[in-house]
């Protein structure tokens, strides 16, 4: 079996994307952050480093909760998506 990019992986899943993000970053905290563990810890690679700025794309989130556990800087305002929104696994 061939390897897949993250985009290809997430494209397999069904999502009902809300109009508002359920997870928000405090930019000023992320800017100062050294380890930037969120880049490793998110299994959907929702966190990206763009021109030395951490961005978060909530659309592909798998709702695991890893980022809020690992970020000890308090940069992540975390909640689940509103009821009915977000990922909907067909197999699970």
């Amino acid at each position: 079996m061939n390897s897949m990019t993250m985009e290809e992986r997430l494209a397999l899943n069904k999502y009902d994307v809300d109009t508002e993000a359920h997870i928000r970053l405090k930019e000023e905290v992320c800017r100062e952050c050294e380890p930037r563990s969120c880049l490793y810890v998110c299994p959907a690679e929702c966190f990206k480093l763009r021109e030395d700025k951490i961005t978060f794309a909530y659309e592909g989130c798998l709702e695991c909760g890893s980022c809020q556990i690992f970020c000890d800087k308090g940069a992540i305002e975390w909640s689940y998506p509103r009821g009915g929104f977000g990922v909907a696994f067909e197999y699970g």
Binding site: R9, N13, C64, G65, S66, Y80, R82, G83, V87, Y91
Partner: protein, 427 residues
């Protein structure tokens, strides 16, 4: 909604469904709330659902539930970079139904439907935002802008349980006590699965991997056969991932490309990619399980057993959900939902396998911190097997001699014995 429920159960996974089903069956007014657009939408597993517990609640459930295959083959496989050594236990052909592979999106949907069949109300697509308080006691939930009153709330809202936290009972999740699992569901024709895994009709295999699947860090790999798909995944401690600059998705790719695994998944098509956290800290991370008007069950209470071979959670979720229901029934009879009365929940769990297993295996999480389990030993056994099975035309050495040579530079005999002793104590 103005009525007052006897119980509001939050989360339609195995813990929540088991609790709601037990209560509704006895005629209690039950509301089961699920944030997914259907029960199971947010859930995935890298585990086997063991039968006996659910069978107590719904006899012969497997005849009607959408289970995948009953597990008749258990394999433990040690992986080095290019080889593997397996222990293969096989009872194919037996009609015992001890454990099942399941796909949770289907299974949980079925279970929530069972709750409705016995008169429970299931509200899906509803996220619970807060607890409703009456002075110091929990008196219901706030969801979708509505206040919904209940005599008692059962928080079965999973590993990231927000509700337990709001009541001051939350699990303290940390990178050390949480494992991250990622999984692919790989479509494959039924006949190919049965032939490739040497399975009779309806029977299935559960394979647990140690070693190269996590590049030697704390965790393991798994493969379960479903009816017409495979569940393939990797579970690794969150701390170990970040400390080693590893991403679990890369581990999964490496695992799939391993010569042994590659042959097992060959020709399949990945149809889903999911991720989930598993509380793996055992008794140490378990929160207080009840307070006035609230009980915590399943992953929300970190009721997961780490044995080194796998993490067993669904069974513990079911049993804790059932114990929570029993507690609520007794509370209703007394007409009192205070923590004195609800303390019976912990007693029920203490008398069952749930807390007994967690106590008995309380040293396991610490033992499983030993790096050698994931790197040195899998390499060692694969290396030794290679020495034993390879015939190179030179005079042969006895097995013990080969073992000592293989151990050289990897682990001392003294270290091996000490690890063996702690394994004996822990698992």
């Amino acid at each position: 909604m103005n009525e007052r429920f006897d119980a509001i159960v939050v989360g339609a996974g195995p813990a929540g469904c088991a609790a709601a089903y037990s209560l509704a069956k006895e005629g209690l007014q039950v509301l089961l709330v699920e944030r997914g657009k259907f029960a199971g939408a947010k859930n995935m597993t890298g585990g086997v659902l063991y039968g006996p517990v659910l069978n107590d609640l719904a006899p012969d459930f497997w005849k009607e539930a959408p289970v995948e295959r009953h597990i008749s083959r258990h394999v433990i496989a040690f992986l080095s970079e290019r080889s593997s050594l397996s222990v293969d236990f096989n009872v194919t052909g037996s009609d015992e139904h001890n454990g099942f592979s399941v796909l949770r999106s289907k299974f949980d949907r079925w279970f929530a439907h069972k709750v409705e069949q016995v008169g429970g109300i299931v509200a899906t697509g509803l996220r619970v935002d807060d607890l409703l308080w009456d002075k110091q006691r929990v008196a219901g939930i706030v969801a979708g802008g509505d206040e919904i009153a209940g005599e008692v709330v059962i928080a079965a809202d999973g590993v990231n349980s927000g509700l337990a936290k709001k009541a001051g009972l939350g699990v303290k999740l940390s990178p050390e006590n949480v494992n991250q699992g990622v999984k692919e569901v790989i479509k494959m024709p039924r006949e190919v699965i049965e032939e490739r895994f040497n399975l009779a009709d309806e029977s299935g295999a559960a394979i647990h991997f140690l070693g190269f699947c996590t590049k030697g860090v704390h965790g393991g790999g798994f493969l379960y056969t479903n009816k017409e798909s495979l569940s393939l995944g990797v579970v690794a401690q969150l701390k170990a991932l970040v400390e080693n600059n590893l991403k679990s998705v890369d581990l999964l790719e490496g695992f799939k490309a391993h010569p042994t695994v590659k042959e097992l998944v060959k020709g399949g098509t990945t149809v889903e990619y999911s991720a989930h956290l598993v509380p793996a800290g055992g008794l140490k991370m378990m929160p207080r399980l009840y307070t006035d008007g609230l009980l915590v069950a399943g992953d929300a209470a970190a009721l997961v057993l780490a044995t080194g071979r796998a993490l067993e959670g669904m069974n513990f979720a079911l049993a804790s959900g059932m114990a929570a229901a029993e507690t609520v029934k007794r509370a209703k009879e007394k007409g009192d939902y205070g923590k004195e009365t609800l303390s019976c929940y912990e007693k029920l769990l203490a008398d069952s396998f749930v807390l007994r297993d967690l106590k008995n295996f309380r040293r396991a999480p610490h033992f499983l911190e030993n790096q050698r389990i994931y790197s040195t030993y899998p390499d060692l056994v694969c290396g030794l097997a290679e020495r034993i099975f390879q015939v190179d035309g030179n005079p042969k050495e006895k097995v013990w001699q080969l073992a000592r040579e293989e151990m050289k530079g990897k682990v001392s005999l003294w270290r091996l014995i000490r690890d063996g002793m702690s394994a004996r104590r822990a698992i």
